[in-house]
Protein backbone atom coordinates (compact mmCIF):
# COMPACT_ATOMS: atom_id res chain seq x y z
CA UNK A 1 0.00 0.00 0.00
CA UNK A 2 2.77 2.42 0.93
CA UNK A 3 4.55 1.66 -2.32
CA UNK A 4 1.41 2.46 -4.27
CA UNK A 5 0.96 5.81 -2.52
CA UNK A 6 4.55 6.78 -3.18
CA UNK A 7 4.12 5.78 -6.80
CA UNK A 8 1.10 8.06 -7.06
CA UNK A 9 3.02 10.92 -5.46
CA UNK A 10 5.92 10.46 -7.83
CA UNK A 11 3.68 10.43 -10.90
CA UNK A 12 4.58 13.40 -13.12
CA UNK A 13 2.27 16.35 -13.10
CA UNK A 14 -0.31 16.57 -15.87
CA UNK A 15 1.64 17.55 -19.00
CA UNK A 16 1.07 21.07 -20.30
CA UNK A 17 -1.38 21.32 -23.17
CA UNK A 18 0.08 21.11 -26.64
CA UNK A 19 0.34 24.10 -28.93
CA UNK A 20 1.16 27.73 -28.29
CA UNK A 21 -0.14 29.52 -25.19
CA UNK A 22 -0.86 33.19 -24.83
CA UNK A 23 -1.05 35.90 -22.24
CA UNK A 24 -3.87 38.46 -22.52
CA UNK A 25 -3.50 42.04 -21.30
CA UNK A 26 -6.55 44.32 -21.20
CA UNK A 27 -6.43 48.09 -20.83
CA UNK A 28 -9.88 48.79 -19.41
CA UNK A 29 -9.59 52.58 -19.61
CA UNK A 30 -9.68 52.42 -23.43
CA UNK A 31 -12.34 49.70 -23.63
CA UNK A 32 -15.87 50.78 -24.56
CA UNK A 33 -17.43 47.40 -23.76
CA UNK A 34 -18.52 46.29 -27.25
CA UNK A 35 -18.16 42.58 -26.21
CA UNK A 36 -16.69 41.51 -29.59
CA UNK A 37 -13.71 39.83 -27.87
CA UNK A 38 -15.92 37.99 -25.38
CA UNK A 39 -18.41 36.76 -27.99
CA UNK A 40 -15.80 35.53 -30.47
CA UNK A 41 -13.05 34.10 -28.20
CA UNK A 42 -12.87 30.46 -29.38
CA UNK A 43 -11.69 29.10 -26.03
CA UNK A 44 -13.75 31.39 -23.71
CA UNK A 45 -10.77 33.00 -22.03
CA UNK A 46 -12.58 36.31 -21.59
CA UNK A 47 -15.82 37.31 -19.87
CA UNK A 48 -17.42 40.66 -19.15
CA UNK A 49 -16.71 42.13 -15.74
CA UNK A 50 -19.92 41.73 -13.70
CA UNK A 51 -19.75 45.30 -12.38
CA UNK A 52 -17.68 47.09 -15.00
CA UNK A 53 -18.07 47.69 -18.71
CA UNK A 54 -14.98 45.80 -19.88
CA UNK A 55 -13.80 42.19 -20.23
CA UNK A 56 -11.57 40.35 -17.79
CA UNK A 57 -9.46 37.22 -18.18
CA UNK A 58 -11.22 34.30 -16.49
CA UNK A 59 -9.24 31.34 -17.81
CA UNK A 60 -5.69 32.32 -18.74
CA UNK A 61 -4.53 28.71 -19.31
CA UNK A 62 -7.02 28.22 -22.15
CA UNK A 63 -5.56 31.02 -24.30
CA UNK A 64 -3.99 29.64 -27.47
CA UNK A 65 -2.56 33.00 -28.67
CA UNK A 66 -4.83 32.99 -31.74
CA UNK A 67 -4.74 36.82 -31.72
CA UNK A 68 -8.45 37.11 -32.51
CA UNK A 69 -9.21 39.52 -29.69
CA UNK A 70 -6.28 41.87 -30.16
CA UNK A 71 -6.65 42.13 -33.95
CA UNK A 72 -10.44 42.63 -33.70
CA UNK A 73 -10.44 45.05 -30.77
CA UNK A 74 -11.68 48.35 -32.25
CA UNK A 75 -10.21 50.31 -29.34
CA UNK A 76 -6.76 48.66 -29.36
CA UNK A 77 -7.37 47.82 -25.69
CA UNK A 78 -6.14 44.19 -25.82
CA UNK A 79 -2.63 42.86 -26.33
CA UNK A 80 -1.93 39.14 -26.61
CA UNK A 81 1.60 37.93 -26.14
CA UNK A 82 2.70 34.40 -27.02
CA UNK A 83 4.35 32.54 -24.14
CA UNK A 84 7.21 30.20 -25.00
Amino acid sequence: MTELVSAVNQAPAKPAKKGPRGEVKIFATWCKGCTICVEFCPTHVLAMHPNGNHPIVVDQEKCTACHFCDTHCPDLAIVVRKIE
Partner: protein
Protein backbone atom coordinates in the same frame (compact mmCIF):
# COMPACT_ATOMS: atom_id res chain seq x y z
CA UNK B 1 -20.99 32.40 -14.38
CA UNK B 2 -20.88 35.76 -12.63
CA UNK B 3 -20.17 34.16 -9.20
CA UNK B 4 -17.34 32.24 -10.79
CA UNK B 5 -15.90 35.46 -12.23
CA UNK B 6 -16.25 37.19 -8.88
CA UNK B 7 -14.43 34.40 -7.08
CA UNK B 8 -11.62 34.27 -9.66
CA UNK B 9 -11.20 38.01 -10.18
CA UNK B 10 -12.62 40.05 -7.37
CA UNK B 11 -11.49 43.24 -9.01
CA UNK B 12 -12.60 46.80 -8.88
CA UNK B 13 -13.24 48.34 -12.33
CA UNK B 14 -9.94 50.22 -12.45
CA UNK B 15 -7.91 48.01 -10.16
CA UNK B 16 -4.74 46.42 -11.45
CA UNK B 17 -4.51 48.84 -14.34
CA UNK B 18 -1.37 49.41 -16.36
CA UNK B 19 -0.27 53.10 -16.43
CA UNK B 20 -1.25 54.85 -19.69
CA UNK B 21 2.38 55.54 -20.70
CA UNK B 22 3.33 51.88 -20.20
CA UNK B 23 0.39 50.68 -22.29
CA UNK B 24 1.80 52.37 -25.42
CA UNK B 25 4.95 50.25 -25.01
CA UNK B 26 3.12 46.94 -24.61
CA UNK B 27 2.87 46.13 -28.33
CA UNK B 28 4.49 47.19 -31.61
CA UNK B 29 1.14 48.43 -32.95
CA UNK B 30 0.46 50.73 -30.00
CA UNK B 31 3.87 52.40 -30.32
CA UNK B 32 2.71 54.05 -33.55
CA UNK B 33 -0.16 55.89 -31.84
CA UNK B 34 0.07 59.54 -30.82
CA UNK B 35 0.53 59.59 -27.09
CA UNK B 36 -0.76 63.15 -26.67
CA UNK B 37 -4.21 62.37 -28.14
CA UNK B 38 -7.34 61.65 -26.18
CA UNK B 39 -8.08 57.96 -25.91
CA UNK B 40 -10.33 55.98 -26.14
CA UNK B 41 -11.03 56.80 -29.76
CA UNK B 42 -13.97 58.94 -30.92
CA UNK B 43 -15.85 56.07 -32.63
CA UNK B 44 -18.89 54.28 -31.22
CA UNK B 45 -18.36 51.22 -29.09
CA UNK B 46 -17.53 48.30 -31.40
CA UNK B 47 -17.05 50.30 -34.64
CA UNK B 48 -14.99 48.50 -37.28
CA UNK B 49 -12.93 51.58 -38.14
CA UNK B 50 -10.70 50.90 -35.14
CA UNK B 51 -9.96 47.44 -36.53
CA UNK B 52 -8.90 49.00 -39.85
CA UNK B 53 -6.65 51.43 -37.95
CA UNK B 54 -4.86 48.51 -36.28
CA UNK B 55 -4.52 46.79 -39.67
CA UNK B 56 -3.06 49.88 -41.30
CA UNK B 57 -0.44 50.29 -38.55
CA UNK B 58 0.55 46.62 -38.83
CA UNK B 59 0.76 46.86 -42.64
CA UNK B 60 3.02 49.96 -42.57
CA UNK B 61 5.13 48.34 -39.88
CA UNK B 62 5.49 45.08 -41.84
CA UNK B 63 6.97 47.06 -44.76
CA UNK B 64 9.57 48.61 -42.44
CA UNK B 65 8.72 52.16 -43.54
CA UNK B 66 9.91 55.13 -41.51
CA UNK B 67 7.06 57.07 -39.93
CA UNK B 68 8.30 60.25 -41.61
CA UNK B 69 8.06 58.69 -45.10
CA UNK B 70 4.36 57.92 -44.79
CA UNK B 71 1.60 60.50 -45.18
CA UNK B 72 -2.02 59.83 -44.33
CA UNK B 73 -4.57 62.07 -46.03
CA UNK B 74 -8.18 62.03 -44.88
CA UNK B 75 -11.36 63.90 -45.70
CA UNK B 76 -14.42 64.24 -43.51
CA UNK B 77 -16.41 61.54 -41.81
CA UNK B 78 -16.03 58.87 -39.17
CA UNK B 79 -13.24 57.14 -41.11
CA UNK B 80 -11.41 60.42 -41.65
CA UNK B 81 -10.80 60.69 -37.90
CA UNK B 82 -8.42 57.73 -38.15
CA UNK B 83 -5.14 59.61 -38.97
CA UNK B 84 -5.62 61.82 -35.91
CA UNK B 85 -4.54 58.97 -33.66
CA UNK B 86 -1.62 57.72 -35.77
CA UNK B 87 1.96 58.96 -35.53
CA UNK B 88 2.68 59.61 -39.22
CA UNK B 89 2.49 62.74 -41.37
CA UNK B 90 -1.19 63.51 -41.53
CA UNK B 91 -3.41 65.85 -43.49
CA UNK B 92 -7.04 66.45 -42.62
CA UNK B 93 -8.82 67.94 -45.62
CA UNK B 94 -12.30 68.98 -46.76
CA UNK B 95 -15.13 66.57 -47.52
CA UNK B 96 -14.38 64.26 -50.44
CA UNK B 97 -11.11 65.99 -51.36
CA UNK B 98 -8.70 63.57 -49.71
CA UNK B 99 -7.56 62.25 -53.11
CA UNK B 100 -7.23 65.76 -54.56
CA UNK B 101 -4.92 66.82 -51.74
CA UNK B 102 -3.12 63.47 -51.91
CA UNK B 103 -2.48 63.97 -55.65
CA UNK B 104 -0.82 67.32 -54.95
CA UNK B 105 1.23 65.81 -52.14
CA UNK B 106 2.35 62.90 -54.29
CA UNK B 107 3.47 65.20 -57.12
CA UNK B 108 5.41 67.37 -54.66
CA UNK B 109 6.95 64.41 -52.83
CA UNK B 110 6.99 61.35 -55.15
CA UNK B 111 9.29 59.52 -52.73
CA UNK B 112 6.65 59.41 -50.00
CA UNK B 113 4.07 56.71 -49.46
CA UNK B 114 0.70 58.45 -49.54
CA UNK B 115 -2.37 56.75 -48.14
CA UNK B 116 -5.75 58.41 -48.65
CA UNK B 117 -8.20 57.24 -46.01
CA UNK B 118 -11.83 57.73 -46.99
CA UNK B 119 -15.26 56.54 -46.07
CA UNK B 120 -17.76 55.37 -48.66
CA UNK B 121 -19.57 58.70 -48.78
CA UNK B 122 -16.29 60.57 -48.92
CA UNK B 123 -14.84 58.48 -51.77
CA UNK B 124 -17.93 57.61 -53.82
CA UNK B 125 -20.34 60.54 -53.44
CA UNK B 126 -18.72 63.94 -53.07
CA UNK B 127 -15.25 62.67 -54.02
CA UNK B 128 -16.39 60.37 -56.81
CA UNK B 129 -14.72 62.35 -59.58
CA UNK B 130 -11.43 62.61 -57.73
CA UNK B 131 -11.57 58.88 -57.26
CA UNK B 132 -12.05 57.90 -60.90
CA UNK B 133 -9.51 60.45 -62.15
CA UNK B 134 -6.85 59.43 -59.62
CA UNK B 135 -7.40 55.84 -60.80
CA UNK B 136 -7.27 56.94 -64.47
CA UNK B 137 -3.91 58.71 -63.95
CA UNK B 138 -2.60 55.73 -61.99
CA UNK B 139 -0.93 58.03 -59.49
CA UNK B 140 0.93 56.20 -56.73
CA UNK B 141 -1.58 56.65 -53.93
CA UNK B 142 -3.12 53.94 -51.81
CA UNK B 143 -6.84 54.61 -51.41
CA UNK B 144 -8.24 52.92 -48.32
CA UNK B 145 -12.03 53.05 -48.50
CA UNK B 146 -13.84 51.92 -45.37
CA UNK B 147 -17.31 50.98 -46.56
CA UNK B 148 -19.97 51.03 -43.87
CA UNK B 149 -22.88 51.53 -46.34
CA UNK B 150 -24.07 54.77 -44.74
CA UNK B 151 -23.18 58.31 -43.69
CA UNK B 152 -22.52 57.44 -40.06
CA UNK B 153 -21.30 60.73 -38.59
CA UNK B 154 -24.22 62.86 -39.77
CA UNK B 155 -26.97 60.50 -38.62
CA UNK B 156 -27.38 57.61 -41.04
CA UNK B 157 -28.28 59.17 -44.37
CA UNK B 158 -28.32 56.98 -47.46
CA UNK B 159 -24.92 56.81 -49.18
CA UNK B 160 -23.96 55.60 -52.70
CA UNK B 161 -23.10 52.19 -51.25
CA UNK B 162 -26.30 51.56 -49.26
CA UNK B 163 -27.55 48.15 -50.50
CA UNK B 164 -30.90 47.89 -52.30
CA UNK B 165 -34.02 47.72 -50.11
CA UNK B 166 -32.10 48.62 -46.95
CA UNK B 167 -33.34 51.52 -44.86
CA UNK B 168 -31.58 54.75 -43.99
CA UNK B 169 -32.82 57.92 -42.29
CA UNK B 170 -33.27 59.49 -45.75
CA UNK B 171 -34.70 56.26 -47.21
CA UNK B 172 -37.25 55.23 -44.55
CA UNK B 173 -39.18 52.94 -46.94
CA UNK B 174 -36.08 51.23 -48.31
CA UNK B 175 -33.40 52.25 -50.77
CA UNK B 176 -34.38 51.99 -54.44
CA UNK B 177 -30.99 52.98 -55.90
CA UNK B 178 -28.50 50.24 -56.77
CA UNK B 179 -25.20 50.71 -54.87
CA UNK B 180 -21.83 51.53 -56.42
CA UNK B 181 -19.51 48.51 -56.71
CA UNK B 182 -16.37 50.32 -55.49
CA UNK B 183 -13.85 47.68 -56.60
CA UNK B 184 -15.37 47.28 -60.10
CA UNK B 185 -15.41 51.05 -60.51
CA UNK B 186 -11.72 51.33 -59.57
CA UNK B 187 -10.72 48.45 -61.89
CA UNK B 188 -12.65 49.96 -64.79
CA UNK B 189 -11.21 53.43 -64.15
CA UNK B 190 -7.65 52.10 -64.33
CA UNK B 191 -6.43 51.27 -60.82
CA UNK B 192 -3.52 48.84 -60.84
CA UNK B 193 -4.22 47.04 -57.56
CA UNK B 194 -7.72 46.40 -56.24
CA UNK B 195 -8.41 44.29 -53.17
CA UNK B 196 -11.28 43.88 -50.75
CA UNK B 197 -11.65 42.38 -47.33
CA UNK B 198 -13.82 42.85 -44.27
CA UNK B 199 -13.11 43.96 -40.72
CA UNK B 200 -13.81 40.39 -39.61
CA UNK B 201 -10.64 39.42 -41.53
CA UNK B 202 -8.09 41.99 -40.30
CA UNK B 203 -5.07 39.78 -41.07
CA UNK B 204 -6.17 39.71 -44.72
CA UNK B 205 -6.50 43.49 -44.57
CA UNK B 206 -2.92 43.71 -43.23
CA UNK B 207 -1.69 41.69 -46.20
CA UNK B 208 -3.66 43.60 -48.84
CA UNK B 209 -2.73 46.98 -47.38
CA UNK B 210 0.96 46.05 -47.39
CA UNK B 211 0.69 44.92 -51.04
CA UNK B 212 -1.25 48.07 -51.95
CA UNK B 213 1.29 50.40 -50.32
CA UNK B 214 4.19 48.68 -52.08
CA UNK B 215 2.35 48.76 -55.44
CA UNK B 216 3.69 51.44 -57.78
CA UNK B 217 0.45 52.98 -58.97
CA UNK B 218 -3.08 53.69 -57.80
CA UNK B 219 -4.18 50.98 -55.37
CA UNK B 220 -7.57 50.54 -53.80
CA UNK B 221 -8.30 48.53 -50.68
CA UNK B 222 -11.96 48.34 -49.74
CA UNK B 223 -12.45 47.44 -46.09
CA UNK B 224 -16.06 46.34 -45.66
CA UNK B 225 -17.18 47.53 -42.24
CA UNK B 226 -20.51 48.17 -40.57
CA UNK B 227 -22.33 50.93 -38.73
CA UNK B 228 -24.36 49.34 -35.96
CA UNK B 229 -25.33 52.69 -34.44
CA UNK B 230 -27.33 54.12 -37.35
CA UNK B 231 -27.54 51.55 -40.17
CA UNK B 232 -27.77 48.58 -37.79
CA UNK B 233 -30.42 50.21 -35.64
CA UNK B 234 -32.70 51.37 -38.44
CA UNK B 235 -32.44 47.98 -40.20
CA UNK B 236 -32.63 45.97 -36.92
CA UNK B 237 -29.32 44.19 -37.48
CA UNK B 238 -28.27 43.92 -33.85
CA UNK B 239 -25.11 44.80 -31.96
CA UNK B 240 -21.57 45.32 -33.27
CA UNK B 241 -20.73 41.67 -32.55
CA UNK B 242 -23.86 40.54 -34.46
CA UNK B 243 -22.93 42.64 -37.47
CA UNK B 244 -19.37 41.32 -37.36
CA UNK B 245 -20.76 37.78 -37.39
CA UNK B 246 -22.80 38.67 -40.48
CA UNK B 247 -19.59 39.84 -42.19
CA UNK B 248 -18.06 36.46 -41.43
CA UNK B 249 -21.04 34.51 -42.79
CA UNK B 250 -21.76 36.77 -45.76
CA UNK B 251 -18.30 36.82 -47.31
CA UNK B 252 -16.52 34.40 -49.59
CA UNK B 253 -12.85 34.26 -50.53
CA UNK B 254 -11.80 34.89 -54.14
CA UNK B 255 -10.42 31.34 -54.49
CA UNK B 256 -13.72 29.80 -53.29
CA UNK B 257 -15.67 32.17 -55.55
CA UNK B 258 -13.62 31.12 -58.59
CA UNK B 259 -14.57 27.48 -57.99
CA UNK B 260 -18.32 28.23 -58.11
CA UNK B 261 -20.32 27.39 -61.21
CA UNK B 262 -21.49 30.22 -63.48
CA UNK B 263 -25.04 29.91 -62.20
CA UNK B 264 -23.95 30.08 -58.56
CA UNK B 265 -21.80 33.11 -59.33
CA UNK B 266 -24.74 34.88 -60.90
CA UNK B 267 -26.87 34.50 -57.78
CA UNK B 268 -24.00 35.11 -55.35
CA UNK B 269 -24.94 37.74 -52.77
CA UNK B 270 -21.83 37.33 -50.63
CA UNK B 271 -18.98 39.81 -50.52
CA UNK B 272 -15.97 38.49 -52.43
CA UNK B 273 -12.72 38.94 -50.50
CA UNK B 274 -9.33 38.93 -52.16
CA UNK B 275 -7.11 40.63 -54.71
CA UNK B 276 -9.67 41.35 -57.42
CA UNK B 277 -7.60 43.13 -60.05
CA UNK B 278 -3.93 43.81 -60.81
CA UNK B 279 -2.40 45.44 -63.85
CA UNK B 280 0.94 46.88 -64.94
CA UNK B 281 0.80 50.50 -66.10
CA UNK B 282 3.25 53.43 -65.85
CA UNK B 283 2.88 55.44 -62.68
CA UNK B 284 1.87 59.11 -63.07
CA UNK B 285 4.65 60.85 -61.12
CA UNK B 286 7.28 58.76 -62.99
CA UNK B 287 5.80 59.74 -66.38
CA UNK B 288 5.58 63.36 -65.22
CA UNK B 289 9.23 63.23 -64.05
CA UNK B 290 10.46 61.94 -67.42
CA UNK B 291 8.42 64.60 -69.20
CA UNK B 292 9.98 67.35 -67.05
CA UNK B 293 13.48 65.95 -67.66
CA UNK B 294 12.91 65.70 -71.42
CA UNK B 295 11.59 69.24 -71.67
CA UNK B 296 14.52 70.58 -69.65
CA UNK B 297 17.11 68.69 -71.71
CA UNK B 298 15.78 69.40 -75.14
CA UNK B 299 14.35 72.82 -74.30
CA UNK B 300 11.20 71.85 -76.19
CA UNK B 301 8.69 74.63 -76.42
CA UNK B 302 5.01 73.80 -76.30
CA UNK B 303 3.20 74.06 -79.61
CA UNK B 304 1.17 77.12 -78.66
CA UNK B 305 4.23 78.86 -77.19
CA UNK B 306 3.99 82.52 -78.11
CA UNK B 307 7.20 83.77 -76.50
CA UNK B 308 10.29 85.66 -77.84
Amino acid sequence: MSEHILSVHDLDVNEGQIPREDWFESSDTLQHLRKNKRFPTIWCSGCGIGVVMGSLIRAIESLGLENNNVALVAGIGCTARMPVYMDYNTLHTTHGRALAFATGLKIARPDMKIIAIMGDGDAMAIGGNHFIHAARRNIGITALVVNNSIYGMTGGQQSPTTPLDMRATTAPYGNIEPPFPICDLASAAGATYVARSTVYHPLELDKYLAQAISNDGFSLVEAVSYCHTTYGRINKLGSAADMMRVLKENSISKSAYDKLSDEEREFNTKTVRGVLHTKKRPEYTKVYGTLVDRVHEEAIKPRNYGGH
